[in-house]
Symmetry: C2
Subunit: 342 residues, 2 copies
């Protein structure tokens, strides 16, 4: 997208036209740039220079630290070929927003690369961009730049998100202390079950589970509220148990999860797949280490934000996660979570 140049001085979000804006009709552009101009330029925010320059330029907000993260999504791995492009786009944006939420940061903007087969229909890009437009409005950020290329393989997407946080206040993964409660937002397991539902492998009468798989809810407000309350935080993307392991390694502590306390949605309870809920990915809820003194404040702050639940505790010991079943005996889990290699 850094190579785009096309006409629409009236498009929202363009910087002031201190220098002449391009004024050629898109028929004069190579197809790649016309495609970018039609679908992505309307998403461009201040500083993006209409996606018509080599890079975006903007002044970072004074007195804030920058928070940056990047995630990739590949057709056939992270989404299904039949998934609606608008939902794929929104999931790509939201998984990155979830990383900002985990740091307690506020969104600023994003860059995106899209590699798609040459045969990709125009309607794919139109629906993809419409999904991004909807989420840009919902979460208050805009496109800053990117690149659009062809590929002989599956659609491959990458998004880099930029956010800001008050200096020194970002939530980290490595701050848990012995005795901290292990808390989680929302409900766990809906995403993993939703993938099965989207594949038609389990029942999902009202589409709730598939909806949770397709459209994560980044917990930005909760992450911001947890700044100063939680000792550590991360988002649950690769499975609750595996991701809890990251907090344990970060702090050099053990954690105990009481499976009976893990919050499940009604449809997840009905599915009866507890191990999958504990180890499946795609939750995009927040996992927090919270000292007892901050529990009441966190619960109060979270009450209107989907709620939080204490599911266990950090204890002194080697970095490991023990999961206790409803009867208090350890559960043996086949695998702790998702890994792309090995």
């Amino acid at each position: 997208m850094t190579d785009a140049a096309a006409p629409d001085p009236s498009a929202e979000g363009l910087p002031p036209p201190d220098l002449p804006l391009p004024d050629l009709s898109s028929e004069d552009l190579p197809a790649e740039f016309a495609l970018i101009a039609r679908h992505f330029r309307p998403l461009a925010g201040p500083g993006a220079l209409g996606l018509g320059d080599d890079a975006a330029v903007f002044a970072p907000p004074p007195g804030r630290e920058l928070v940056v993260a990047a995630d990739a999504m590949v057709e056939g791995v992270h989404f299904l070929p039949a998934d609606p492009p608008g939902l794929v786009a929104r999931k790509l944006l939201r998984t990155n927003l979830s990383d900002l939420a985990a740091m307690g940061a506020a969104p600023l903007g994003y860059l995106m690369t899209v590699s798609a087969p040459r045969s990709t229909p125009e309607s794919f890009f139109a629906a993809f961009a419409a999904g991004l437009a909807a989420d840009q409005a919902e979460f208050g950020l805009a496109l800053l730049g990117g690149d659009t290329t062809s590929t002989p393989g599956p659609v491959s997407l990458s998004l880099t998100i930029l956010g800001t946080v008050a200096p020194g206040r970002a939530l980290r993964r490595n701050g848990a202390r012995p005795g901290d409660g292990l808390w989680v937002s929302g409900t766990i397991g809906d995403g993993a079950l939703g993938l099965l539902a989207a594949r038609g492998e389990i029942a999902d009468p009202d589409g709730f589970l598939a909806g949770r798989y397709h459209l994560p809810r980044p917990r930005l407000a909760l992450g911001a509220a947890a700044v100063g309350l939680a000792h550590a935080a991360m988002d649950v993307s690769d499975g609750l148990v595996q991701d809890t392991g990251h907090l344990c390694r970060g702090a050099g502590l053990s954690a105990v999860i009481e499976a009976g306390r893990v919050p499940l949605s009604g449809p997840a309870r009905a599915a009866g797949r507890l191990e999958l809920c504990l180890t499946g990915g795609d939750d995009y809820e927040l996992l927090l280490a919270v000292p007892e003194a901050a529990e009441a404040a966190l619960s109060a702050a979270a009450a209107s934000l989907g709620g939080v639940t204490r599911i266990g505790r950090f204890v002194a010991g080697p970095p490991q996660v023990r999961v206790l079943g409803p009867d208090g005996t350890p559960l043996a889990l086949g695998r702790p979570g998702w890994s792309h290699f090995g």
Copy 2:
């Protein structure tokens, strides 16, 4: 990479260990995170939090604007399956650095996503990371974050670069004025010929052309020197004629290129493929619109930086590029440059 967590408090570039650093051996990590820890964590710079958090956090340099760009590269499109992984990595980084050069910006850091088949050998990642390490040292920047995923398709890479520039001083594509000279750095066409050479389709006895294809030279120092001298700038990535068209559209001007003035390397002259040189991609030289009053200063600044050559001029008229052959008559070109779609 945002999910990595692994041990090496002694690794250079880690932030001060104000909180405990992870201290598990990599055998305890899922394969994906162990791979990240082994190969990418040594590349992490200040603010990257050892690639062990959900995002990087850093204070932007005070008094500077941020410049951000992203490019994707796909195996079989932007590089050949047999290309050495270290060179692929360096080209990925350098094409993005070239975008910073085109804005007159200085590098700050980068985020990267790598999608590779599950069967990708460890040696690929080792060589890939070694290439990045070499270029990080050469260009003075470090890895801030990213993501590593599997793919059923070709290796798909994306890199987002962050740089800085003095406020209001970024070079733009849309500032050319009638009468400005059209200048280019270095030599043109080596990259496109180098691709043919790398495929064994043309002779390249000393490997010069293939070297130019594999390893662009981002013109960072020249871009910085052109700030305040050039009215407009961009990097030549999709073909000289097509990219000149972008400057024309940006300014609402015509341009005339005198083909006989376009600087060619000795091997490019010997290859005798003028049209390919004018329209092929992968040059990563700078294209500049320079007022006559600044020509001497630009030439002097460029003398030790690979040189610059005036190849034509901007003139009033509809946005188009006319290429005149050595005898002064217009050249008819088959296509102006590279487009990924259509």
